[in-house]
């Protein structure tokens, strides 16, 4: 089972780039890495998913080194509205039981003016 480890909390300021790293030493060949964002009193929202190297979309980038034992979510020029909890997941869609989906405790990101 691929357990993930993330920092409990991070602080930053508006306009800065924020990088949140997730460790997943036991990642399996079929596993993908997915990040979700959760605001208070809401369900999580999908941000980005990747398998290796770099993935970029309109809100974030995901960097995955060659050994895939970690990944880094990069949020460019954050704003106050990026204050949320960010979860890293490692999962093999279509290959494993859904019980393998482990969200963990996430990283609480606080953005200050």
């Amino acid at each position: 089972l691929a357990k993930t480890t993330q920092p409990i909390s991070m602080d930053s300021y508006e306009g800065q780039e924020v990088n949140i790293t997730c460790s997943h030493n036991n990642i399996a060949t079929n596993d993908y890495i997915t990040w979700y964002q959760q605001f208070p009193s809401q369900g999580p929202r999908f941000i980005i998913q990747g398998y290796k190297t770099k993935v970029t979309n309109e809100v974030a980038s995901l960097f995955i080194p060659a050994d895939r034992k970690s990944s880094t979510l990069s949020l460019p020029r954050v704003s106050l509205s990026d204050t949320a909890v960010y979860y890293c997941l490692v999962d093999a869609p279509g290959y494993s039981s859904a019980s393998k989906i482990i969200f963990g405790s996430g990283t609480r990101l606080s953005i200050r003016p």
């Binding site: 997915t34 979700y36 009193s41 809401q42 369900g43 999580p44 929202r45 999908f46 998913q49 979860y87 999962d91 869609p93 279509g94 039981s97 859904a98 019980s99 989906i101 482990i102 969200f103 963990g104 405790s105 996430g106």
Partner: protein, 114 residues
């Protein structure tokens, strides 16, 4: 289009009572998940439905918990003889298929057992 909806948004019940929580997934999504989130904690997987396959119940914490999915759409999570430790937010999510590329979450039901 409409997202995942859940009802009720809040439920207060007395210890020992049964409760039913409802989830309406996105139309056309064949995969449906239930999670539980205690205050300040991550999400705990409970149960997974995919199409007509037998549900994956491996996350249910006890036999007081059960879930059904009727007609491949609406799902109901039932908790019998509720206990105070059942107090949490119950989240439902759906995804297009078993590939689980992106899960769409509902707003959750906050359950308080007094």
């Amino acid at each position: 289009g409409a997202g995942v909806s859940q009802s009720p948004s809040n439920k207060v019940t007395e210890k020992g009572k049964d409760v039913e929580l409802r989830c309406d997934p996105i139309s056309g999504h064949t995969a449906l998940y239930w999670y539980r989130q205690s205050l300040g904690q991550g999400l705990e997987f409970l149960i997974y439905f995919q199409g007509n396959s037998a549900p994956d119940k491996s996350g249910l914490p006890s036999d007081r918990f059960s879930a059904e999915r009727t007609g491949g759409s609406v799902s109901t999570l039932t908790i019998q003889r509720t206990q105070q430790e059942d107090s949490a937010v119950y989240l439902c999510a759906s995804s297009l298929n078993e590939q689980r590329y992106e899960q769409y979450f509902g707003p959750g039901t906050r359950l308080t057992v007094t």
